[in-house]
Amino acid sequence: MGNLLEVKNLFVSINTKEGELQAVRNVSFSLKKGEVLAILGESGSGKSILCKSLLQILPKNGFIKNGEIYLEGRELTRLPEKSMNKIRGKEISMIFQDPMTVLNPIIPVGQQIMEAVLTHEKMSKLEAKKRSIELLMTVGIDYPEKRFYQFPFQFSGGMRQRIAIAIAIACKPKVLIADEPTTALDVSIQRQILDLIRELQVKFGISIIFITHDLGVVANLAQRIVVMYAGKFVETGTTEEIFYDARHPYTWGLLSSLPDVDCDNEFLSYIPGMPPNLINPPEGDAFAPRNKYALRIDYYKEPPMFKITETHSAATWLLHKDAPKIESPIKFKECRVIR
């Protein structure tokens, strides 16, 4: 089956006062129809910038430096703004981290949903309103006819995120990018929003790119996971492969934060140190200085992606045939993580 979205050798940079910050460096991946792909990585690893570049809604000083993005075979990076506007919301849509600020505070939520509908579809105001009320219902807002007229400040954070989701799926996009949609919410609400996203994914068959730095969040949602570090992909694989057969020390670090993981290695309970400065990214493996298992080669030569299985690969010299064999320190107490 063909890929819905295909990203090839994408480089994204941000011009800052100190120089060009290489936020995304040589990233390639693909997304199939109906697939949920999770992007993992700690703060500052370039997850949001990567996703914003897909929609070309980068900050003013950001730009796609190189690479191609194909949506159903159509190249996006060279499209004029006007054609891009036809894709945003209609083909690819996005929800964000902070539901408190993402809605326009002085426009009734109903109108904000209607606007999304009317931007891409020719229909009367009345039909659009009906559709918006249906959408509110779909995302689990009670009394949608009344709520339609209310302003964002009259909703709680979880409900605002639901409304943002309603806006994002208003035109049944093929791809939904969810940029840490639950991070700002408290735990019980997180669960609900995740359930909602899963439900919509099944109902509409939307492909989802789900960003998070919490592995536990995506365990049940994603079919495939990529792990990002300092603007690069360091490991990609199916959810099972990442959970039970992770190869990259950075992935081990992320896994060790899960409650179900017995970590026999103290170093991994958190990842020490700071991510590198991306204005002058280091030679060699960017993770090496923080990596207890780093080899000498890591400091001067960048590891390629080593293929482990057809779907699983990781960028670490530990996978080289001459490297010392290191046992993964990650042991699951019990298999509760993946249902």
Partner: protein, 338 residues
């Protein structure tokens, strides 16, 4: 409804109180300032008056009594609608004002509306082109214009357009005997209006530009982009509405600013209006005139501020709720509303 009436009566009481306070301050300040009020009444004649004559005149005008007594008699007269006569014009103050106030309203009103309209358009234009060459150029030029004093621009314009080119009149509100002629009025308005607008435009345009630039970095703009809205629509439909409340507040708060500018420009262009009157009355210690002009100006400023608040409440739904209407979240059943 009851809320509304209480709200309005509160404002009226506030207005009365402020007016009262203002009247006391102006009354005292005017009388404590050095100078001789008789000059405005008798003109040059004062110099030829003897001491006895002067005392007599002062007594006749009631200026020999303690200030607080003078004030109370002024106040009781004012309650009866009598604001006294202008020493200079030897006429009832109100009738002097009645003849010219419309000129100030025309000049001040037009400059107010046009300044804020142009500032809005210019500010948005700059924000749209943020950091592009055109924006940078406008910012530079704008900064320069705010440094140039109004009277200097006035003189320059008079020199060019009135004296050298002879295209436009340099003074007055209309050609003699043509107070009804719109064409004549417009001709007389062009120069003072230009000065006023140039003088204030960039100050407000820059404010709008920066507010808009900041607004365009808000999270909700990102969601608007994701929806597929184009930039123009995001700016006009979303961002503009969000900055409007603060702009309107600024507009209202700037009434004294613009009014002050109008007064100065009136003076430079000898435009017969409240500003020119104000200058004269202050210069000649025309107490009664000064009093009424200050009160009018003060009341205008207070009303403008109140209007700003009222308009803001209509635009921004949150403000109304801050005043005590109950905020409610998902835990309250919406069915109980209304």
């Amino acid at each position: 409804m009851v809320d509304k009436i209480i709200g309005i009566s509160k404002k009226v009481i506030q207005l009365i109180f402020v007016t009262f306070l203002l009247s006391i301050i102006v009354f005292y300040m005017a009388r404590l300032a050095p100078g001789d009020p008789l000059v405005s009444y008798f003109g040059e004649g004062v110099e030829r008056m003897g001491t006895a004559q002067k005392l007599e005149a002062i007594e006749k005008l009631g200026l020999n009594r303690p200030i607080y007594e003078q004030y109370f008699s002024w106040l009781s007269n004012a309650f009866h609608g009598k604001f006294g006569i202008s020493y200079k014009y030897k006429q009832d103050v109100l009738s002097v004002i009645k003849d010219v106030y419309i000129n100030t309203i025309i000049l001040g009103g037009l400059s107010f509306v046009l300044t804020f309209l142009f500032a809005l358009l210019l500010g948005i234009f700059c924000a749209e082109n943020e950091d592009k060459l055109i924006d940078k150029a406008i910012c530079k030029i704008g900064t320069i214009t705010t440094c140039v004093p109004a009277f200097w621009v006035s003189l320059l314009l008079i020199l060019i357009f009135s004296i050298n080119l002879g295209l436009l009149p340099s003074s007055g509100a209309y050609a003699i005997g043509q107070s009804k002629s719109i064409a004549s009025r417009i001709k007389h308005l062009i120069l003072p209006l230009t000065v006023l607008i140039l003088n204030h435009l960039w100050y407000y345009a820059y404010m709008i530009r920066n507010k808009m630039v900041e607004e365009m970095r808000q999270d909700y703009v990102l969601l608007c982009k994701v929806k597929g809205l184009d930039k123009k629509r995001i700016i006009y439909k979303h961002c503009l509405r969000n900055i409007m409340p603060s702009y309107i507040t600024i507009m209202a708060l700037s009434v004294p600013h613009i009014l002050g500018g109008t007064y100065v420009v009136e003076k430079v262009f000898s435009y017969p209006g409240l500003g020119t009157l104000c200058f004269e009355s202050a210069k000649y210690h025309d107490y009664n005139m000064l009093m009424v002009l200050c009160l009018i100006t003060g009341i205008l400023v207070v009303i403008a501020n109140m209007a700003a608040q009222a308009i803001n409440e209509r635009i921004d739904p949150r403000m109304k709720h801050d005043r005590g209407e109950k905020d409610w979240n998902n835990n309250t059943a919406p069915g109980t509303l209304k």
